[in-house]
């Protein structure tokens, strides 16, 4: 399963909102059987990205520190700011970025 990692400070408040919205979008576009968004606390982001090659997008509601940013780069993960899914400002553009990333990952052989 292609995974979109969504992280906020605690993984309990805003990241589930954003993950739900992304999952609704994926369902709308018919990609819900190949890709899903998962909410988690930002402290776990680095180890999740390092250990799970299916993570192709990192949606951050908490700012990424230098360490996390390096991990994101090293694993060729695409970083997207998560706030548009909360405020609605720029939501279409943010969804479009997710769709591009998911479509690109679908074309690659399964890992």
């Amino acid at each position: 399963m292609i995974t979109i990692l969504v992280c906020c400070g605690s993984g309990v408040a805003t990241s589930p909102q954003v993950a739900n919205k992304i999952n609704d979008f994926l369902t709308d576009k018919g990609f819900d059987d190949v890709a899903q968004a998962e909410p988690h606390p930002v402290e776990t982001a680095k180890s999740r990205i390092d250990s799970n090659p299916n993570i192709i997008v990192y949606v951050g509601i908490a700012p990424a520190d230098d360490d996390l940013r390096e991990t994101i780069k090293a694993n060729n993960v695409i970083e997207i700011v998560g706030v548009p899914w909360l405020t609605g400002i720029g939501e279409d553009e943010a969804n479009a970025k997710v769709l591009v990333a998911v479509k690109a990952a679908v074309k690659k052989p399964a890992q």
Binding site: A13, Q17, P63
Partner: protein
């Protein structure tokens, strides 16, 4: 179920805080005295706001949703504040500067149960008519009526 999270005693539409720190002290002491949070709450919520800012700029309103890990919360609550002056705040996600005079302090005890309410709150602040009414409200009674009406409607 959500109705009980709004409480006339948990709102203050005339707070005169001059800084974020003063606002956290004021609200923190109030919810602590009323038994909604434990002793670590004030420091916890301040620290969390520094590390993970909660300000959001919606098309028609700027507000912040300060919240903290469930360990500091005794009973779930939503504390509504209008500050008499705009305070300097930071935006969620990119920490950009913003100003806000509206605050919803979220006391989240059981994240799974309260996720629905959070999404209704966020949806409400994209609703122009709701925001117009929200900004017009003068008394806590009117605010309760507005919020309960809005959120019970969408969640039932």
């Amino acid at each position: 179920m959500y109705e009980s999270m709004f409480n006339k005693d948990l709102m203050n539409l005339q707070v005169r805080a001059k800084s974020a720190d003063q606002l956290f002290d004021f609200v923190g002491r109030d919810v602590q005295e009323k038994g909604f949070v434990n002793e670590g709450y004030i420091e916890g919520v301040k620290e969390r706001e520094v590390n993970y800012p909660t300000g959001l700029v919606f098309p028609n309103i700027e507000l912040a949703l300060p919240h903290v890990d469930p360990q500091y919360i005794c009973k779930p609550f939503i504390y509504v504040v209008r500050n008499t002056q705009s305070l300097n705040w930071k935006q969620m996600g990119d920490s950009k500067e913003m100003k806000a005079c509206y605050f919803l302090f979220l006391g989240i005890k059981e994240p799974k149960k309260q996720v629905g309410l959070l999404s209704s709150i966020i949806a409400a602040f994209k609703d122009e008519i709701f925001i117009t009414n929200f900004k017009k409200v003068v008394t806590p009674e009117e605010m309760i009526a507005l919020l309960v009406n809005k959120f019970v409607q969408v969640t039932v």
